[in-house]
Symmetry: C2
Subunit: 346 residues, 2 copies
């Protein structure tokens, strides 16, 4: 491996000091235009490249940020990450992506690894199954490493977050079903200790109450965001004495499972039962029977989270303020819930 040229090499060549080279290269202090030019030309000539590690050690900044998500193979998270990258790259930051696979232990491990890797901040969406133990978050907070939640947040004093208005998303989706004439609307929920799922549940409930329909708690089932879980849960619902005629799912994946189960049972969608999902995953659009879903503008969410991070990291750490950004979701109506057939825009 050819040795890299350092500022000392440049200094020696020009018979000046490394300090001067450093200053010239950073354009900072008062360096004569002549030497500045000379240095930068020589630097280019010698193929100089700044050693980020040395700089990181000196400045205490690694220019790495950690991003922790439950998983990356969902379009939603992949898109949020993309948004984060787009916003952070121009500022010289790199993104280290970690997956929790919804396991608290992995989440904790990830945080420790990132801390260990000297990241300048952590942007994350918490995993399910929070056991009330906030030790790992506290580790971040204690070290004063900026922490920003996106989508799946935890209410911690002083911690900023970027989320969507899940209540409204759920409310709109449910309202849409009611407007279509459905009367017995079930809800495939998820771990409601996670705020987003709690809010989706509350939005759903409120829409039903507001419409004058009867709210039936037995139509709410908690499950996991997996296709097969959706099937299983739907099966239970179909076996009820008085089965639902519509389903609002807090996840597109469970919605998909529900649809499979419904079709298998011989019922028609949306004539007999209607289904609405959440997240607007690409497959909801591509299915032959396209699925109505709630869009969460993930790229935007990522960008905003990144912006909040940049603000915090560049803050003169006088006042530490907490920022809560809330995006507005958009209901995308497709075949799976539309009784009056219209030309479906794919």
């Amino acid at each position: 491996m050819k040795k890299k040229t350092t500022i000392y090499d440049i200094a020696k060549r020009l018979n000046i000091t490394a300090a001067t080279v450093s200053r010239a290269l950073n354009g900072n202090s008062k360096i004569s235009e002549a030497t500045r030019k000379l240095v930068s030309e020589t630097a280019k000539e010698m193929n100089y490249e700044q050693n980020k590690l040395a700089q990181a050690l000196k400045s205490g900044k690694s220019y790495n940020v950690g991003v922790i998500v439950p998983r990356i193979d969902s379009n939603f998270f992949a898109s949020v990450i993309r948004g984060i990258e787009e916003e952070l790259y121009p500022h010289g930051y790199h993104v280290i992506i970690c997956q929790t696979h919804d396991q608290k232990t992995l989440e904790t491990e990830n945080i420790n690894s990132l801390l260990n890797a000297q990241v300048d901040g952590v942007l994350m969406s918490i995993s399910n199954a929070q056991n009330g133990n906030d030790d790992s978050f506290n580790a971040l907070i204690k070290k004063n490493v900026p922490l920003i939640f996106f989508d799946r947040k935890k209410d911690i004093k002083g911690i900023s977050s970027v989320t969507i208005d899940d209540f409204k998303g759920a409310y709109d989706a449910t309202k849409h079903l009611i407007d279509q004439g459905y009367k017995r609307i079930a809800h495939l929920s998820n771990d409601r200790s996670i705020l987003i799922f709690k809010n989706r549940y509350l939005g759903y409930k409120q829409a039903i109450l507001d419409s004058g329909l009867e709210f039936d708690e037995s139509l709410v089932i908690e499950t996991h965001s997996k296709v097969l879980e959706g099937r299983k849960t739907m099966k239970k619902l179909l076996e009820m004495k008085h089965r639902p005629d519509a389903v609002f799912s807090s996840s597109d994946f469970t919605a998909l499972g529900a649809i499979q189960e419904i079709k298998e049972s011989g019922l028609r969608i949306p004539e007999d039962i209607s289904v609405v999902g959440f997240s607007n995953e690409p497959f909801t659009r591509f299915m032959e029977l396209s699925i109505t879903s709630v869009d969460q503008s993930p790229i935007e969410m990522g960008k905003l989270a990144a912006q909040v991070f940049l603000e915090e990291v560049n803050n003169d750490k006088r006042v530490k303020s907490e920022k809560q950004v809330v995006l507005t979701p958009e209901l995308i109506i497709r075949k799976s819930s539309l009784r009056t057939p219209i030309t479906d825009k794919v």
Copy 2:
């Protein structure tokens, strides 16, 4: 931010030198059992954590590796990355993920950024649209930064790779279609300057030639791995005077598009036309009409790529050997290509 404790702090407390502390902590040289114990206890007590940046500077290793993929929101790449992570984490490495979105410029930028971030190696799947310009790869090679290709590789002397036998995957898939009695099998190809697509094409062609069927080049169309592209291309095929009765697609996404187009045209799958994809993306299994596809064991691929990296990075750089690992693909037969209906295992 509370200042972190360093080995100097520990040294001061114990009235010894930082050197001793360092050695004691690293368990390495000859340090008396007594001090070793004392040091590690004090370290724990003082909440000592090694500063990775300093270590990185000293050792010249960052313990970061870059992973470059066209995109992360496909199950295939996400899974490869997961395999890489699983293999690398236990060795203290972190993974920096970059996406090229199949743009050569982004690919080059990513490589430079990673180089700049002092990564210890780069594992990558090249983007489409290679313009024959290998400058960015050469930059890596010149700096002696280990480079390992997975899946989409480029033949460069001395560079290791982990791929699957795309020829065989395509051959098996096509053979399966022939065995099912299809006679006019089209192929949705992709940029054939990329080896995997070239090999899939060749496997397809060979299977047809071996079977004695006529090989018709007009049934091969080059497109992009996107659902909508699949639709467009399928449309063209269906408009042919003598339309195909089966399609082997080099991508699950184009296969999906093709299926949509076929259904819209009123033809039945697999009775009238059959479709086979490539990659075994989860949706191929979840579709109501499940799609036959070729599994590439992505997690395994990721692990192997990581292992090759570890070997190279730990190599005493005497002999630089090139390693070509080739995995065997597996054809997963589902409804979209099975004329004799059987119970489909979902």
